[in-house]
């Protein structure tokens, strides 16, 4: 499992969608990171699953960068054959956090999207049953994992 296949994998993904993919580099052995613009998000995801073989969804989460006023949504995908983890990222401006849901591509992402919605407030359009996963139903304390979340808040 030499590093060569990760490098050329990153190249092939870049070549397949030159305009949509912002950056696609190899972080470390067996770690490939692909960052995509929001509008080509669904289409590149489908091609990743169909012709690149990333069929095993691992998990999904977000990171909040208030200083650069952006939020990055990350999906982790595993290639069962090459055993490579691809972090499929998209940068969202902090004011309108909308994203097409990936449950159409990988069905198992529905739990992770519900959790990210609870924690960060990202709207996933087209999600089958968007009900809170982890936070209590009577929670009105804002989105906990954002950097500007001030302590507890229920009432």
């Amino acid at each position: 499992m030499s590093g060569v296949s990760e490098a050329d994998l990153a190249e092939k993904v870049k070549a397949a969608h030159p305009d949509l993919v912002e950056s696609s580099e190899v972080l470390r052995e067996r770690r490939v990171s692909v960052t995509v613009k929001r509008d080509g998000f669904l289409e590149v995801a489908k091609s990743l699953r169909d012709d690149f073989g990333f069929i095993h969804p691992v998990c999904g989460g977000a990171v909040d960068y208030p200083k650069e006023s952006r939020m990055q949504m990350i999906y982790y995908l595993l290639h069962p054959g090459l055993k490579v983890i691809l972090t499929y990222r998209v940068n969202l401006p902090r004011d309108d956090l909308r994203l097409p849901t990936l449950t159409q591509v990988w069905e198992a992402m529905s739990f992770h999207e519900r959790e990210t919605h609870d924690m960060f407030g990202i709207e996933f359009e087209g999600h089958p049953n968007m009900i809170p996963l982890l936070i209590p139903p009577d929670w009105r304390g804002g989105y906990p994992l954002r950097k500007d979340f001030k302590g507890e808040g229920v009432e």
Binding site: I135, P136, G141, P144, F149, G151, E152, V154
Partner: protein, 169 residues
């Protein structure tokens, strides 16, 4: 734990022999409740494995008559084992209300007593905001001997309780 046994006014105090009769009833009731505490099979957090070890073979909780039971109707003690989140605390409150009258609550572990290692978490909660607690058992997770010692303290408390015919002002 020597609680000062304060005098409790009873309904039939005026009858001369009633003190002895009340004493007898208290003794029998205390003895029977002491040796048959049925905690509910309800683990709310990460001290679960330790709770299982105490009802296991090495530290057998059933020697004291403590038999974890399935349904809430027949139980008389909730052992809140482990961290309690907000969503779970509401369920603990429902359970507390569904139990028959002589009911007790034991908080097992540092988290139900005071949120333990998650002191600054937005979701964990201390249980005594929701239900009155009788015995607190510290430790994260508390050792089986500590849990059994907690149950013995509860037994001591039940033995000295005076419940029959107490006049409520």
């Amino acid at each position: 734990m020597q609680e000062e046994t304060k005098e409790v006014k009873r309904n039939f105090d005026f009858i001369p022999g009633s003190g002895a009769v009340y004493g007898l009833i208290d003794y029998v009731a205390g003895w029977s409740r002491k040796y048959s505490i049925w905690p509910i099979h309800f683990v709310t957090g990460c001290c679960g494995p330790e709770f299982m070890q105490t009802s296991g073979a090495e530290y057998d909780m059933e020697r004291l008559g403590v038999l974890p039971f399935a349904s809430v109707r027949q139980c008389d003690c909730i052992m809140v084992v482990g961290v309690v989140s907000r969503k779970m605390a509401i369920r603990v409150k429902y359970l507390y209300e569904q139990m028959g009258e002589p009911k007790y609550v034991v908080a097992v572990g540092a988290c139900p007593t005071g949120k333990g290692p998650f002191y600054d978490s937005y979701a964990a909660v201390a249980i005594d905001e929701y239900v009155p607690v009788d015995v607190y058992i510290p430790g994260c997770p508390p050792r089986p001997e500590a849990i059994i010692h907690g149950m013995m303290l509860l037994q001591e408390k039940i033995k000295n309780e005076k419940r029959i015919g107490v006049r409520r002002e």
